[in-house]
Symmetry: C2
């Protein structure tokens, strides 16, 4: 019942971008790859997706890259999870397919549980997740930024 | 954020066993394999696990098999999910490992969401899931029982 790694690393990246001090350069794929130990192929996919969803402003070209396009207070964690998870179905009734499908009450109970899960996340904005910004910045203080990486 | 297939099919099997009419024979692996379209290897693992957890009474030998060892009203869905899921951690912070680990508030929010998910399931017993027993029985009426399978 874990979030997919895709959603997990997308959220971590939003946190990373939200705690950046004022900087002249945009963030680039190579920086996220370095920070989270991911392949650039993996990172490219969710950066593109977050851009399409309007959370990132992306700029092409030599000095291109991306940054948050929305204030952290306007990024709702529940909404992001709903947008990025490949399914919100609690189980896959199509597996089998399940013989109990026409009369199943299990799916109803599990669906109610998923709704309760999402309702908790709906209470949180990205801003709530970075209230300890200086502690979070300390976590990445030793990581080279894109300037040093290039 | 789906339940694992292991938990999913364990729950389906508990439903299947709970709606059985009075029968002289015990259920066998082959019957569950047939009903849910699973490999016997897969079924054997969760049947053994459900037995170890005390939910099933298992009998070895030629006329052996298994049946519920506990009344459906005494089987709590939240408890079963906690026992069968291989992790209740909402994300795997060990992946990377995550640079934000010492100061992360995301994990707290996601953990609160998982607790809300489980709290909903804690309200349900297996008995609540089979209140429409006759409808559920109709779903499996055309499936051969172990007697016909052997």
């Amino acid at each position: 019942m874990q979030l997919t790694q895709y959603t997990d690393f997308s959220l971590r990246t939003l946190v990373y971008l939200a705690i950046q001090p004022e900087r002249e350069t945009l963030c680039r794929i190579a920086e996220i790859t370095e920070v989270f130990g991911l392949s650039s192929n993996h990172v490219s996919k969710f950066i593109h997706h977050l851009g399409k969803l309007g959370y990132l402003q992306t700029v092409r070209g030599k000095n291109g890259g991306f940054k948050l396009a929305v204030k952290p207070v306007d990024i709702n964690i529940g909404k992001v999870v709903r947008q990025l998870e490949n399914t919100l179905q609690p189980i896959d009734c199509g597996l089998g397919p399940c013989v109990f499908l026409p009369a199943c009450k299990l799916k109803g109970a599990l669906g109610e549980a998923v709704n309760a899960y999402l309702a908790v996340l709906d209470k949180y904005s990205l801003d709530d997740i970075i209230t300890n910004k200086s502690d979070l910045r300390a976590c990445i203080a030793t990581i080279p930024t894109v300037v040093e990486l290039l």
